[in-house]
């Protein structure tokens, strides 16, 4: 009766287990990925393993902006062409990629690695806020753009930062809020619509 359930050979089971730990990967996907690797050429498995190791070995946080990078300071911080008087504060490294895609921002960044989230017990001390304040003390920054997400936690973080930075005599700006491209007015919530009205601009089309 107590015969163990049939399971895959040791190393296979182990790989399934490891894939299963990844976010969004269920048991079936983990099995499928494992059997894909099993059938793939050895070079491919080698490349995957090496990429996994490199990401842990070679990636560090930029000592200036806290972005993930393989050279320190990171390429954006080291770029002499960029406007060093403006810092854009974002929640996560991925937000930098999104902003860079716009090709309309030429200043520097700062990554907080999270947002103030009182109910989860995440306060200012758990974020890279001290690092930001240190940066602002030492150089020629004139404007800080707060680009946290326009949701409850992002707004709380922006308010907190705003008060802190204004006390230092800095110009603090916030990304505009309003209607996203492709939206419908009738589905917009009151706050978004009110902000869109407040921030309306003369139409020069």
């Amino acid at each position: 009766m107590n015969e163990p359930l049939p399971s895959a050979a040791g190393p296979v089971a182990r790989l399934i287990e490891e894939f299963h730990k990844l976010p969004g990967v269920g048991p079936k996907s983990a099995q499928r990925l494992t059997y894909y690797v099993l059938r793939a050429p050895a070079a491919e498995a080698q490349a995957l393993a090496q990429a996994l190791l490199d990401v842990k070995d070679k990636i560090v946080l930029c000592s200036v902006c806290q972005n993930v990078t393989d050279v320190d300071p990171c390429r954006i911080c080291a770029d002499g062409q960029r406007d060093r008087t403006t810092i854009c504060v974002v929640e996560e490294p991925l937000d930098i990629l999104a902003l860079e895609r716009t090709r309309s921002y030429r200043g520097l960044y700062h990554v907080l690695h999270g947002v103030i989230s009182p109910m989860e017990g995440i306060g200012p001390d758990e974020l890279k806020m001290k690092e930001l304040l240190d940066r602002l003390r030492s150089n020629e920054v004139g404007e800080v753009i707060v680009a946290t997400n326009p949701n409850l936690e992002g707004e709380a973080t922006a308010m907190y930062l705003g008060k802190l930075l204004r006390a230092l005599g800095l110009k603090v700006t916030r990304l505009a809020r309003g209607l996203p491209v492709g939206a419908d007015l009738e589905y917009a919530d009151d706050i978004t619509l009110a902000r869109a009205l407040e921030g309306r601009q003369e139409f020069s089309g």
């Binding site: 017990g121 306060g123 200012p124 409850l152 008060k163 802190l164 492709g182």
Partner: protein
């Protein structure tokens, strides 16, 4: 209670967590169906029609479809978004504290009109009141009562005698007051001043308006806050996360004043 296949209800969004690529799981508090988790699909995309209506602390009308593991939000419309609370860290930190307490105190799927309205009234009061802390103390006392943890404040829980107008003790473990003799020597109970006892009795028996009329000096307010907090932590057997942020704002004197 078995839920209908498709139903509409008023709800306050207590908290949210991310799920997968673009979804969120929301904890909703409803008057008729109690606390329940619901999946909001696609609300992390900028083109979501629902995300603005489903921010935490929003009171909204939601259309829910019964799902296999949890309800799915089919439609929603914000009724009150409490913009005043969102724009002020003092009010916001306290509103989040209230939402966290409700989330920790109430069980899932239990009908709860009284507690629902307590939370709603508290949010409305936080949007208006100058003294956000009094609003919270009144809320805490009522929530404890609704949840069956009404603290004893009339008699000593040791000897059953009426309390005398001297410094007595408050014991989270015993669930209320102890007279100086009964509290003697044990570590748990903390001294409870005569004035703090009076205000706590008023919180327990009076209406919110009675409390709002009262001018509580800061030191007394903090004593009452400590007693209620220690009792709540004892009942929940865990810390309230949002309390740490309120403390933090107090320490950064920068944030002390409420903006009107």
């Amino acid at each position: 209670m078995t839920l209908p296949r498709l139903f509409k209800t008023e709800a306050i969004v207590l908290r949210q967590r991310k799920l997968g690529e673009a979804d969120r799981i929301l904890t909703l508090y409803t008057p008729t169906y109690g606390k329940l988790d619901a999946k909001a699909k696609g609300v992390r995309k900028t083109t979501s029609r629902m995300s603005g209506h489903l921010q935490p602390l929003t009171r909204c009308m939601v259309q829910l479809a019964r799902g296999r593991s949890m309800e799915v939000i089919a439609g929603c419309q914000a009724l009150e978004s409490f913009a005043v609370i969102r724009e002020d860290l003092q009010r916001l930190s306290r509103a989040l504290y209230a939402a966290e307490l409700v989330d920790r105190f109430v069980p899932e799927h239990v009908e709860s009109h009284a507690t629902y309205h307590l939370l709603l009234d508290t949010l409305r009061r936080l949007a208006q009141a100058l003294d956000a802390d009094s609003v919270l103390r009144y809320f805490e006392m009522r929530l404890l009562e609704h949840s069956g943890f009404r603290p004893e404040l009339a008699r000593c829980l040791g000897c059953e005698r009426q309390l005398q107008p001297v410094t007595n003790y408050f014991s989270p473990g015993a669930g209320g007051t102890l007279c100086p003799e009964c509290a003697g020597g044990t570590a748990g109970p903390r001294p409870l001043s005569v004035n703090a006892l009076k205000v706590m009795r008023l919180l327990q028996r009076g209406s919110y308006n009675d409390m709002a009329r009262l001018q509580v000096p800061p030191e007394l307010g903090q004593e009452i806050e400590r007693h209620l907090r220690s009792y709540i932590v004892h009942v929940l057997e865990r810390d309230v996360n949002a309390a740490a942020f309120i403390e933090r704002l107090r320490r950064d004197a920068l944030f002390e004043t409420i903006e009107v």
